[in-house]
Amino acid sequence: MNNEQSKIAYINNEPFKVQGDETILHFLKRYMGDNPVPTLCDAPNLKPFGSCRVCSVEVALEQDGLTKVQASCHTPVMADSFIYTHTHKIEKLRKNIVELVLTDYPADKFETDNPNTNELKKVALDLNITPDDVRYAPGANHLNRSVDEDHSYMRSDLAACINCYRCIRACDEVQGEMVLTMAGRGFENTVIMGMNEGFKNSDCVSCGACSQACPTGAITDVFNSKTNEVVETTRTICTYCGVGCNLDVAVKDNEVISITAPYDAEVNQGHTCLKGRYAFKFYNHPERLRSPLIKRNGKFKEVSWEEVYDFIVDKLTTIKSENGPDAIAGISSARCTNEENYLMQKFIRAVVGTNNIDGCARVCHSPTALGMQRAFGTGAATNSIIDLNYTNCMLVIGANPTAAHPVTGAKLKQAAMKGTTLIVVDPRETVLARYADYHLQLRPGTNVALLNMMLYYIIKENVQDDDFIDNRTEGFEDFKSQILALDMDKMAEITGVDKDLVRNAAVAYAKAKNAMSFHGLGVTEHSQGTFTVQLIADLALITGNIGRRGVGVNPLRGQNNVQGSADMGVQPHQGAGYLDITQEEVQNIYTDFYKVEMPKEVGYKIPEMFDAALEGKLKALWIIGEDVVQTDPNTTKVKKALNSLDLFIVQELFMTETAMLADVVLPGASFLEKSGTFTNGERRVQRVNATVLPIEGTKVDGQIIIDVMNRMGYAQPAYNAKEMLEEISQIVPFFKGITWERLGTNGLQWPVAEDGSDTEIIHLEEFKRGKGKFSYFDWKETEEIIENGEKYPYIITTNRELEHYNCGAMTRRTGNVDIITEDVLLINAQDAADKNIKEGEMVCVTSARGKVDIKAKISKEVKPGVMSTTFHFPEIMVNLITSDVHDSEAKCPEYKVVAVNIRKSKGKFANA
């Protein structure tokens, strides 16, 4: 070790300390800055490759001794060696290599490109060489390669390709899609997509990693993200999913031009998916709402902000005085910032005076928050995504991260490909399932039974962690006897999964040195969702996989700020910071802080709001950024409920299905137009920075709320992210040490102590609730199957596609729509044959609620008896058929199990 520490090498005869096995390039960078020597094939998030050779240096064993030329990017530093970076010999070598490259490079492109965006040109100019200096006679070249312009985003013009392999390596090492390769050999090597079929026909998922990697723009995208001449960029956070990717947004004349991913982002290390990188054109789409609207005689009319505020304030005041505050409710948005969510719940609680505040977490991860609070005391991920680097086993339950959390999904896939054990519990053969060591392909709705089987075998095979159970948990003995009483054959029959396979998977999870679990909506959106979460917690407890690197229970939070909206108190039973609003001391805290009397009763959850509206108890509802008509289950009922309100306010970017039903529509602003913070799925609070001014006629959502607050008599200063955060940090205990400045570029993971130190892993020494709590649950067939299973013998489970986001209001207004154009029904070949349905034919799907026509896609992804579909397009309205069965505890709807019947459609789309 001593030896290691004192390892020294010389750069141009000056001694420096060497770190471990670092490469010469790494070593040089540490002492000479970012570009100590030129490079072409090297890139920040790729492994050393050694193809361009312009990074070469001379290395000698003694000062000014005999040297050897070595490529610095992949050669480790030798102790006591003398590295010479700019000798005559080396400069000449670099220049001669670039001269060779220029023999096959379009001179006109060299001429016109900007050296700041074309790395080849930069390197060439630095070496003082241009195409005019090429001494070779014209010869074989690739200047006539055709361009590829067929894809909605990706572009290639390979005449400018220098065969550095960066694109290929990015697609492999970063995204893991392996769409790109060289074809041919030697000088004839050509980058191709798929089977030499261009981007559009290949399996490209448009992540843009290749475009970002390319040094010359030979592979680029419609926005020329890498090569456009914008120099002003603003760093912000993606609006789409809970991964929370950092984005560098390039702006020109107050217009977003393109987006790239910063390499130094701890969350995404230079990567994003196509939504983050390319799907931003919705923000200034012609269909953006640009004026407040009031519906009169069934027609929307554009009105001024003053008029709309007066209208709202007047109505709300009347309803409140006539029906009491509880006749008013709000649904806040996980797309909005923490500050805005905080404001919305504050408005509902402190200004209106009711706890009728809820958010979309209700329809996704409410069971996670509740289940994990019950087991551990905190309803958030125990660990961080970086723990993937330390884990030996990944258990993925009811989640399809390669589509829904693409950057995390890519990391999981990368780890699986490299050999980390992967267990997938999912009714569908997802992408990850194909890479899994164990795929437990259960019948939808049997999660509880399957997890009980895993727990049974862990106990039965005696692979539990007794020390951990003894020291850090409670309730184990009871739990154990209940589990052991189960009949595995019966469970195997219920789940449809071979019990030996379950045993092997359970043992693999238990025996792994460090095992991490991940779960998604396939866990929560069930009638037993909360119980399932508690059983996942049981698995972590029984195997001691809590409280260190590479372990834990890690919910994959759906929307970008769904974690944050709950943290901020967008829940009817807990205020900002998860404080229980029924407790008197909590009420006192809030009352002191907000300087008003606080409501004491638990408010309505979203489904209860609809019921209350139908019953006439709820009169006014204000929804921010949620298309409940399209995305909530049982559309017919939702519509009816909304129509029975006296005042329905929708704050939106677009005229969604929900907005159409509103009395008042408020044009909000997109993430690109506002500042604040988002909290990602690993509790990381990150700065959102406005990149452009709000589109004319629209307002930052937080400001809209504040305007109404003030008009209703509550003094709240104008919206300012930094000041809002200051207010929040005074009331949310785990935000105590958070300030705008401290968040810096990579944010902080809560809890953040007063001194600003944050927390990557929680429950280290003890659980938030003291001991981890074991809980046992019997599996119960869902009401949906019990009631409708006979008449509707197939099961549909809903899911999403990578290319679209939720109701699609944003992604359908971007180029993504050309990639995936419609919702489809994935159906097993056997079921299709039984019903005489062919690929691409319309299928009529009926449930106890209604029916939809949808196009069939025959797929191995689903087993016979099970079908799957997405819900991104209003044309289909898949939620017409979904049920309003809910999780018994958290009231999250059961999207994942819908009893249906199918037949070939004879309806209007029959020949579509």
Binding site: K47, P48, F49, G50, S51, C52, R53, V54, S56, V69, A71, H74, P76, K89, K92, L93, N96, I97, L100, V101, T103, D104, R135, Y136, A137, G139, A140, I162, N163, Y165, R169, C171, D172, E173, G176, E177, M178, V179, L180, T181, M182, A183, G184, R185, G186, F187, E188, N189, I192, M193, G194, M195, N196, S202, D203, Q414, M417, K418, G419, Y435
Partner: protein, 546 residues
């Protein structure tokens, strides 16, 4: 090299080997169908691009190979012998132009006129009997001399057979790993694949690397035109080679041995496979070898036509079904080799010394040759010699002895010898007397021993044309990964092609090109080519720079 692809391929490993599947699926039509490439990509969890891209690399897998029925050798020895035009013309009477392809060296350099039809190699007078060949099933007979200048030859003595293999295994097993390694160390064998790296050192570093799995790979991709010594060993002494592989496995704790054998050597593939089958029959291949509890299974992986696959890291990628592009080192194969596991890659001839060493002792081996270059070396002489053939020569023997006594002198006037394959040195005849057959002597004089194949360049053959051929060989065989080699070889070729059209060579530019390739290339293909060209520039300048 992709770590992902390597690991994904490793999931199925050698038993259901991706590359083998690619090769097999090309047998019917000369190239795998697109459907097959997609199926394989799906099965191995890779992208379609990966199987497609891998297939497109190899002469005998790429789409252009579809429908090829006959191949003409285009290697250096046949080129300078000026025999191939006639071969092509004769073949063209029986095959359409599209059905005739090219192959780079079939190891028939001792009689030339080499061609391949229906997977068999022919040479010498065979082309005169093409009709008969096409109607029969016999392999082309060939004749070359074999002799040694030591009394107890290491490599060319009485061949081992299955039974003597077994007996020797029993003996070795009794010696134990430590003693085996000791003998190998004492013998001080240096790798015969070209680089001359110590075999014992390589084994030891693989042995001490901890892993649940290790591999031994025998590099039988002998691609140097002019060389056929590995072919000789595989066809005549296959048990010696296999024994060497098994001993490496015993020493380092590997249970799989791969012979990566070039497709151009179909006879060698058949004979080696027969030897493996015979070993299987007597319980010397598979589990519990000879009842000792040692498991070891051989497997031949057939190449698909790519010289660079002889480079060890490209070779490993090839077996993995990846594009065989050279990898950066470290990690070395002994640390992270095949499927990411510690792997020994040794040349055929290197491994074939092992039985003799264990029988006679490492010291006896080291008594042959010089201090630093011990043992004997196989040397291949081409058809310009009066006695073409493959000779086992004690290291340190004067080159002139080989030329005069073994080769019997030249048939016609020769101006230079190209020794060590395309990446070797070009030795003008007057320098022959200054050289001895060992690594040091060659290096000191500015040449390279390499694999010690000898191609004679006749007096009347233009040096400019020969250099063009060398650049072209490099351009065609370059893996294309590093800039100096992939672009430089093409520019070099063009320079020398233009020179034949009267365009004078710019010597400063040529010097720059050679230096760029030599010090800039990632591997010894681009890095090695300049040596011969520089020799030619030194000794035949007036022919080149006019």
């Amino acid at each position: 090299m992709s770590e992902n692809l390597r690991k994904l391929s490793g999931r199925k490993g050698l038993d259901n080997n991706l590359f083998e599947q690619l090769v097999n699926s090309s047998k019917a039509e000369g190239t795998p169908t697109d459907e097959k490439l997609k199926d394989l990509a799906w099965e191995y969890l890779m992208g379609n691009a990966n199987t497609y891209g891998a297939g497109s690399f190899y002469d005998f897998l790429k789409k252009e190979n579809k429908g090829k029925k006959a191949y003409v050798c285009n290697g250096s020895a046949c080129l300078v012998a000026d025999t191939q035009e006639k071969v092509t013309e004769t073949l063209a009477k029986n095959f359409s132009k599209d059905e005739i392809g090219e192959m780079c060296c079939m190891g028939r350099c001792h009689e030339n006129s080499a061609f391949n039809v229906r997977g068999r190699n022919y040479s010498g007078m065979a082309i005169n009997n093409l009709k008969k060949i096409l109607s029969s099933e016999v392999s082309g007979l060939e004749k070359y001399n074999v002799a040694a200048n030591v009394s107890n030859p290491v490599l060319t003595g009485t061949p081992l057979n299955a039974e003597s293999f077994k007996a020797l295994f029993v003996k070795a097993d009794a010696m134990g790993v430590k003693n085996i390694l000791n003998e190998i160390d004492n013998a001080n064998v240096r790798g015969r694949g070209g680089a001359g790296f110590s075999m014992g050192f390589k084994w030891e570093s693989c042995r001490i690397t901890e892993s649940d799995q290790k591999f031994i790979v025998c590099n039988a991709d002998e691609g140097d035109p002019g060389a056929y010594s590995d072919r000789y060993l595989l066809e005549v002494q296959p048990y010696s080679v296999l024994f060497g592989i098994m001993m490496a496995g015993l020493v380092v704790g590997a249970d799989r041995g791969v012979v990566y054998l070039r497709a151009e050597y179909s006879e060698a593939i058949n004979i080696t496979q027969l030897a493996i089958d015979e070993l299987t029959r007597i319980g010397m291949n598979g589990t519990n070898i000879g009842g000792t509890g040692f498991d070891f299974t051989f497997k031949i992986i057939e190449g698909a036509g790519a010289y660079v696959c002889g480079e060890e890291t490209a070779l490993l990628s090839s077996i993995e079904g990846q594009r065989p592009e050279v990898r950066v080192r470290p990690p070395y194969p002994t640390q992270e080799g095949l499927f990411g596991k510690p792997t020994i890659v040794n040349n055929v001839e290197t491994l074939a010394t092992v039985p003799w060493i264990l029988e006679n002792g490492g010291e006896a081996y080291a008594n042959f040759g010089t201090q630093k270059s011990t043992g004997t070396k196989l040397v291949c002489l081409d058809s310009f010699f009066n006695k073409p053939g493959m000779y086992e020569i004690e290291m340190g023997t004067p080159l002139s002895t080989i030329v005069e006594e073994f080769g019997g002198g030249f048939k016609s006037e020769v101006k230079a010898l190209h020794i060590g394959g395309p990446l070797g040195g070009i030795i003008p005849t007057h320098k022959i007397s200054d050289l001895e057959l060992d690594f040091e002597s060659f290096q000191k004089q500015g040449f390279l021993l390499g694999h010690a194949s000898v191609v004679s360049i006749p007096k009347e053959f233009s040096m400019v044309k020969y250099i063009e051929h060398l650049f072209e060989f490099t351009a065609v065989e370059s893996c294309g990964k590093c800039f100096p080699c992939s672009i430089g070889s093409v520019r070099g070729k063009e320079m020398f092609a233009n020179a034949q059209q009267g365009e004078p060579i710019n010597q400063e530019l040529l010097d720059d090109l050679l230096e760029t390739m030599e010090i800039g290339s990632l591997c010894a293909l681009g890095g090695g080519l300049p040596l011969g060209v520089k020799n030619a520039l030194q000794y035949f300048k007036e022919e080149i720079i006019k």
